[in-house]
Symmetry: C2
Subunit: 402 residues, 2 copies
């Protein structure tokens, strides 16, 4: 694909033809860097060649991408809970079906979720971990802050707990990112499999219920004074409501704005721009359908809803999105890269301000269930994939120029 | 977006640093070149700056893209028939509804269709025109060959007539292209609005019926001896069957293979690779749905069907596709460009052999009902658009680097 451009030098001191290699338009190809991972969910770079990786069904690992060595991080809290633990101890009845209407087996969502470094990690060694915590009332999303010392988590403090605990094993959310003011944002799903189980005031619309929301906290877990006002009874820390199942949330390198992906039902998968005080509508309005044909949402008085920037006509199950700022694919500069669990392809989203002007689906002939796209400090693009047929066959894949 | 690469010249005679402009990764933008067209359908380049353009609701025009002058080509056959003529003279009852189930008004498909130059046009001045011809039994697709002299069509000869004439005003097809052996290919739609009007052996599956097929002819209209064998009763010239509504057909500059777009119902819009003797399945199998929920297709014994290379989950109404081989967008080299009537965006399809490896939807924030993408002799990309609110507001738009 490389082209040669002929450059005629018109320098008085030196008149001759010189051939110069021009940059080509590289095609992206996949290269497996690490395999044998138990459903990797998130990855944070300690350096260009060393990462912390959270396994949904496994552990928090430190991995050397060069030597391929994996080191288990000690000190994960005792209340961590995942799908494997659930399947080992079936002590709790479930209020949702064991398989989907189309007969496909349900994969529960419990486990270790996002790993995120404090913006000042190099100074304070602080990191944030979101995971599914259990109690005898069920499970829910918890966020802790810890310090990393000698491959152990120390000085652990709880930042957030999405009570109530409940027995649904879905839509914990757990996405986290920092904005330019070092505020911490956390996504929490609504934890309900079918809308027919919604209370009269749906969970994601109830500002007294922690589920189905997006939160904004100071890095120490306290509540910023300039958070939006959802009324006197609202849960502290609320930043946006009406969320069904949002995992991926990321910051625009150009504007500092936050973008998040969301799973719908019967399509309705979305890309959203996070707005202070926004109500993203679930389950009152949706760009998709409902699991139950019998469900008709209530009408809420005097409520305005924030539309998604984009929704897909097909099921994508978009997850950990990121902005690409690397140099290997100059034509992707500042595009959003969105992986999907369902189609297993990568979506490249080109923006003009907050308007999507083009969208490309990549790797259409090589679909792998993809959890998160992550960029290295030097701008290399990585992808975390999993394989439900072999839940220990998760991979770190690098997207490289061909 | 331009980048500067530093080139260190290591020529003994001349050691100094020289800055060289590297090609950038240009964004495509639209520039209206010509407007005031009556639903332009096809365009053929007489030179880099002069084209022949067919208006579905109007005339065959010669247009100077530089001076913007339009010249009407005389000698269009008297039996040409279009939607405006139909609406003027409502003398024929219709067997299909005046509006779609969603209430949107039907736009009839009759008119002038493809304009195509003979591969040896510069020597023989021959061109091919497909259009909707009428008789007192109704209308159908006709292809003529003519010579262009002084803005007139002379020495007109009928190449093909898709009898029977019928009163449906849909799916005439009319797409035409030449392959590397100078064989002429013609697409003909099945001319039925709803499947409930299909005979027991559906039109597109009946090799004794000219509708719903793709044809291969010699440039003089005679039948090549190496055409596929569809049996003793088959219509002469048949190359593929099972076609619902195909308009765009184009040749791969790399392989010489022919690709065509096809409209489905309730999604089912497709990109297909043309295979000798292929049966593309309509209406027995479809990647979309049927207009009538009451329709269940018959089962045909011993028939194998050719799958599409791609079908969209959303309605696109893909039309006149083309391969891009220009230099303005190096990253698009040899991609298929597919416009759509329904979404009004441009789709860029990247192939690895016959496999689609990525697909990009362009101009998502500037949707215009688009009929055909055409490349100039020097590789400039043009788009023909129409506006149903003002049927005389059709345009020739150039896609240029920003």
């Amino acid at each position: 694909m490389k082209r040669i451009i002929l450059v005629l030098l018109l320098l008085s001191a030196c008149k001759k033809e010189v051939k110069v290699e021009a940059p080509s338009y590289p095609n992206p190809v996949k290269e497996t860097v690490i395999d044998g991972l138990s459903r990797p969910w998130s990855m944070a770079f300690l350096s260009e060649t060393e990462v912390l990786l959270s396994e949904k069904d496994g552990d928090l690992l430190r991995i050397d991408l060069t030597t391929k060595e994996k080191f288990k991080i000690k000190g994960i809290p005792e209340d961590r809970f995942d799908t494997l633990l659930y399947e080992k101890a079936k002590y709790r009845p479930l209020t949702f079906p064991p398989s989907l209407p189309d007969g496909s087996k349900i994969t529960y969502n419990a486990g270790i979720l996002e790993i995120l470094l404090h913006p000042d990690f190099e100074d304070n060694r602080q990191l944030y971990l979101s995971y599914v915590a259990e109690s005898n009332e069920g499970s829910t999303t918890k966020v802790i802050r810890a310090e990393l010392e000698n491959d152990s988590l120390t000085n652990i403090r709880q930042m957030f707990l999405a009570t109530p605990y409940s027995d649904g094993l879905f839509h914990y959310g757990g996405g986290m990112t920092f904005d330019n003011e070092k505020k911490l944002y956390i996504t929490v799903g609504e934890r309900i499999f079918s809308e027919i189980h919604e209370p009269e005031l749906p969970v994601a619309q109830d500002v007294t219920d922690r589920r189905g929301k997006i939160y904004r906290l100071n890095s120490d877990g306290s509540i910023p004074e300039d958070n939006p006002d959802f009324g006197p009874d609202a849960i502290p820390g609320l930043f946006a409501i009406g969320i069904r199942a949002a995992q991926g949330i990321t910051k625009s390198p150009l504007t500092g704005a936050l973008w998040f992906s969301e799973h719908g039902t019967t399509q309705g998968d979305e890309i959203n721009l996070l707005e202070k005080g926004g109500n993203y509508g679930w389950p009152i309005i949706t760009s998709g359908g409902y699991r139950s044909k019998d469900y008709s949402p209530p009408t809420l008085e005097g409520v305005t809803y924030t539309d998604p920037i984009w929704y897909w006509p097909q099921t994508v199950a978009p997850t950990g999105l990121t902005f690409y700022t690397g140099d290997e694919f100059p034509q992707w500069k500042n595009n959003i890269i969105v992986p999907g669990l369902s189609r297993g392809s990568l979506w490249r989203v080109q923006l003009d301000g907050q308007t999507i002007i083009s969208m490309e689906e990549l790797f259409m002939n090589d679909r792998q269930r993809s959890r998160k796209a992550v960029q290295s400090p030097e701008g290399k693009l990585y992808l975390l994939t999993e394989d439900l047929a072999d839940r220990t066959n998760g991979k770190i894949i690098q997207i490289k120029p061909e």
